[in-house]
Symmetry: none
DNA sequence: AATGAATGAGAATTCATTCAT
DNA sequence: AATGAATGAATTCTCATTCAT
């Protein structure tokens, strides 16, 4: 990807996190990226396209981060813990500003079929985890979407509160939260 | 509250849900509410104030809905189930358009101390539930913010997927999800 | 018609005549008309609509001017001469700046059926002249469009040259031109 | 003339006819001509110069077309008829797109003295026709500009209506129009 | 209290022109 | 000579806000 295009995407993400969804103008993006306003339109059709592409860009980054240090031959609970913490770290370490401000969900998305297949592939390690857990009888027999909402999304939710300063999570609480997330999806 | 003020708030919520955060102008609000543009400024200082007040307005509505049919002398699990379903129903029955579109979080908020106290009071029944659960040794000894993130927020998360059409939750899955949310916070 | 709307149309006509079709911006129109840029959009949907309405406005003016001092009971040649001179005077007296610069034809037109009927009605006196002339056997038996192209449009053509300074027409030449236009359409 | 220069002029004419005066950008011209945007500036100083040169280019083409198959030893009326039809054919056969759309007149012109002399020379056959006609007593004793406005310009005028679809001219009407144009300028 | 015409700054986008390659 | 990425001023149009009525 061209250097300028990367800088524009990066600038957009930074500004969106800082100023929220409204209040980010193309001029601001241009200035932050250090390019002329017109230059943005060489790489993106219009503002909508810029936001769409930013969505895809971030999603790829997120999928990559979540899968970090996870291999399919690790024990289930170890894999789960690693992914849970990957999400937590990503959201709390400010390297994904849009995620931890809850602004990512509001980016306009392309709802195409290819897009969905792509997303599925990107989060393959999560699917694998849930499928294996269910096959082994360890996890509840629920669809992956539900398992995810019960166990991984609380990580984002907590991280957001942590970042916003609404509530500070300490190390013990963090471990307990991971355990509780695990409790939510395993058979008892 | 004056009739016109109510109509303005109602119109704003409807339009926000429909057109997203950008694309709602004061002219549009005025038209939808059936008042003149200038009239809005009799009830709200500026656009920001309108959105702030809308935030408070919706939050009050939400707090009210969540607590519906919940009294402090009901058994813990019954109370939990009722609140979980109150959230689910509110989000899926389209009577809180901003919530189920995930746009509520993006409303500008006042981060004052009074605001926080007020919110605490509004969600008193939730706090009471968690406190009693912990006191009785049934719940894990975690802060309410964490318990909420583990058990109630998945309800919103699922409802959103359900509404968006990303994933349809059937009745059995719903019951299982409630049970799993409960599993997340109780001691094992 | 509102005073502001009139001023905007007037300003647009003046500027178009002066700067040609390109080089007239909405800002310029606003400044010339003494209104704010946004005000134009209260009266006209967009720039296209402004130009369309200007077209209609001018056409009405032209139709009115052409028919001045013409009544259907005047002798044919007298009517013809009056209309020919009405055109000439309008174009040379600078009160129809767009006409005499040949910019009028380039205004975007609405090609609707109603528009055509309206135009027909506006130029009724011209039609009547040609029809009577043909019925009496004085004029050649040609369609009005052709008769007009042969006899009245040369008036505009000459006026344009006169205004542009390409060629100055004196009074004798003017009378001769009217006579020649007449010769073009009568039987010999 | 260089091949690229020709292609640029050709592309400009095509685009102007299609998109009108606004709506033709240098980028579009470059693309249509199959050259890079910067290349245009090797052959033309700026956009204005491009349009000026296009004007001259077209005028030369027109002058050439009008004089086709006309030699000074042909009988007057035959010469007149040939030129009248040359104009008609050129305008109706789409090989002079700017003429028959009435956009040619709006091209910016250089109003220099040399330009005028050049134009005079280019239309020498027209001048000769009129001068001979007047010398022989056949034509009215009017300046060439007037004779032209009375007899040849109606051809363009009619052709434009024909092309625009405002009015379709059939073969009989065409002959009659030529005859009427002739009637306009001969002595009676 | 209520209106809605008017404002003008600011938004997205285009485009003539330049210049390093 | 030719390229085409880059520029940034200018364009059309919107919109929060004001104010005379």
């Amino acid at each position: 990807m061209s250097d300028k295009k990367k800088r524009i995407l990066q600038a957009t993400e930074t500004l969106l996190a800082e100023h929220g969804f409204h209040g980010v103008s193309m001029q601001m993006v241009a200035k932050e990226a250090g390019v002329a306003a017109g230059t943005i339109y060489r790489y993106f059709e219009d503002k909508d396209d810029l936001l769409h592409q930013l969505h895809d860009h971030i999603l790829a980054h997120v999928a990559n981060k979540i899968s970090q240090n996870v291999s399919d031959d690790m024990p289930l609970q170890h894999r789960f813990r690693t992914m849970w913490l990957n999400i937590w770290n990503m959201a709390t370490q400010e390297d994904a500003p849009l995620i931890n401000r809850g602004q990512f969900e509001n980016l306009p998305r392309r709802e195409s079929h290819e897009q969905k297949l792509l997303e599925k592939k990107m989060f393959a390690k999560v699917s694998t985890l849930f499928e294996e857990g269910k096959a082994s009888g360890l996890f509840k027999n629920l669809d992956n979407e539900i398992l995810s909402a019960l166990s991984l999304e609380p990580s984002i939710c907590l991280a957001r509160k942590h970042i916003n300063g609404v509530y500070k999570v300490n190390d013990d609480a963090l471990e307990a939260a991971i355990q509780a997330s695990w409790d939510a999806i395993i058979q008892h």
